[in-house]
């Protein structure tokens, strides 16, 4: 079923919408939640919470990119659950490849204004749009979905070494670009 039809079902308060969402995006959501939580039961719970959240939020929203909208909810809930589980705000370090990301930043001041963060997100997006589709997917799967290099390599039928190499080059290019744009990274 296409996304618009599913969204329409949410608007009509048709419970089948949940079923259709689960059919279409359940595994994607589970994968993302599992990447973060590393615990099947928690990941399952997170996916179910996501569907509940969707059920409650969609009458107000008509997301243009439904899968991204769902994944954003999963990610938010999973990270929140992870922090709650570990009672530690830094628990996300277990799943987020901070070490790799730290190659891009160099300890400058964190931007406090939300607008700057938003601009930074847009700059990263613009940078990604200059890369090939495969490179974009590698980057987003690694740093947005937190997939391992091995998983990405298997998915794209390339070697993990190639994934690491692509990521390394992309980090360098991103760093250069952000510096050029004047970010205090």
């Amino acid at each position: 079923m296409d996304d618009n039809s599913i969204i329409e079902m949410y608007w009509n308060r048709d419970k089948q919408a949940i079923h259709e969402t689960d059919q279409k995006y359940g595994r994607l959501c589970y994968r993302l939640a599992d990447n973060i939580l590393k615990l099947k039961e928690d990941a399952e719970e997170c996916v179910n919470d996501t569907f509940m959240k969707l059920w409650n939020s969609i009458p107000d929203d008509r997301p243009a990119h439904f899968s991204a909208y769902i994944c954003q909810i999963v990610k938010r809930l999973a990270l929140s659950k992870l922090r709650y589980n570990k009672a530690d705000k830094r628990a996300a370090e277990n799943c987020v490849p901070y070490e790799e990301l730290s190659e891009i930043v160099s300890g400058g001041a964190d931007p406090e204004e939300a607008s700057i963060m938003s601009e930074l997100s847009e700059s990263i997006s613009e940078y990604l749009m200059t890369e090939s589709k495969q490179n974009r997917i590698i980057f987003v799967r690694r740093y947005w979905y937190y997939d391992s290099a091995e998983t990405i390599a298997e998915a794209l039928n390339i070697s993990p070494g190639t994934v690491w190499s692509v990521l390394s080059r992309m980090r360098k290019r991103l760093k250069k670009r952000l510096k050029k744009e004047g970010y205090d990274i």
Partner: protein
Amino acid sequence: MKAEMLDKAIKGIRPELIEEAALQIQENNLSSAKDTQRQNGAVSGVDIYHRPLRNKIFAAAAAIVLVAGAGTGGALLLKGMKDKSEIAVTASGSDEVVISGAPFGDITGGKVRYLSTVYAPFLLDSEQESTDELAEAFNSAVWEKLDSNIESSYGGRDVVYVSSGDKRFRLVFYGDRTVDYETESGIVRYRVSENTAEIVRSKAEPDDKGYINSHMIPCKTEDLTIDGVWKNNEVLPDKLFEKPGVPEEFKDKEIREIDPQYGIIYDLQDIEKDAAEAEDIIVGEVSSISFERSMNIAYTSIGITVSEDIAGKLSAGEQVIVKFSGGYIPARDKLNVYDMTSSYQYFDDIPEKDIDNICYYEKVFSGEYPIVGMKYAFLVNGGDQTDKNGGKVYRSIGHEYGVLYKYDDIYVQRNDNGLNLYSMDELKKMLESPSVYMPILTQKDGKIVEYVTPDEKEK
């Protein structure tokens, strides 16, 4: 800036980028049996936890009832839902019966062959690992039993033939996710999830791997039955034709590939037209490949040990030659003729000092020829001349399209549309069809002119 902030910024990238990766993950996930188990929420002895989604929704409903002060009513609703979710066969909201686990039993360790409209009537032989993944997906799937009298509005898409233990059956998957489970005793109709249907589709139509010959089993249309598909077990060889290796005499030369432009007056890929032009079909094993030239034309001679001759002129075991256009030819032999017509540089600008170090490979169509040691049927004309060893010499009709790989009693023709299967009876009928054209290679002033029809020749 700290890495955490950058992570936050990455979180906010454009949704289309997130969606692009999501689509790729979705495609990739289809083959993941682990995820499938989770998705379908069934139990197959593997430790996969799944809290049924409906429980969650109704848990919310139950909570509302409790808040409203209805006492234990909500709790009972939740309890009831939980109990029902754990039994294998349940009555859903409609009259449909929902079955967790494959209704035909576990096919792990069994054999599976696929038939898809994409490559029918070939069967795609499943590797054991892939079969077991499929079995896992089937075991995990929820099979909604449907009324068999209701016709699917979609055409049959993929067929899964199964031979497991003493059971043989087939599953016909339709575009609307309905599945016909067919045994000798009848048909039972089910509906499965999109994920399960997609897993079948991805295995039956492996567009990432292509249709690898080493997994394809030719099957006659009349044998596409529950038992018939298991008659043959030999898969097609990886290659039905190949480019011949460089002959010893040219091994130290520079090989340049050229594509001679012959005038072709009918579609050689059409086996019916080829057979109509041919006078005979010789079946035999390729024993040798050699290369010759006559004037400036390269020929490839295929030596055949005859096993069958439709015209009845040859006996089994006899050695014959079938000649094909194309092959290796020294540059000097190729260019000399063109020199006479002031076209010496038509192919190449080669200085005299280099000409003897260069050899051409005249690539006609694919440039591939039958492989030594393999059996084929050859559509041919001629046989009135002999080679130095006394073997009859024939001319190939239809070039590579007039050569069919012999698989049991099925003959496989390769053309641009893929592989086509014929029986010898079908080929014989085609052979008897009246000839429309008589392609003849002619030369004028040392140049290949074109193939002409007999009528044109008379003119």
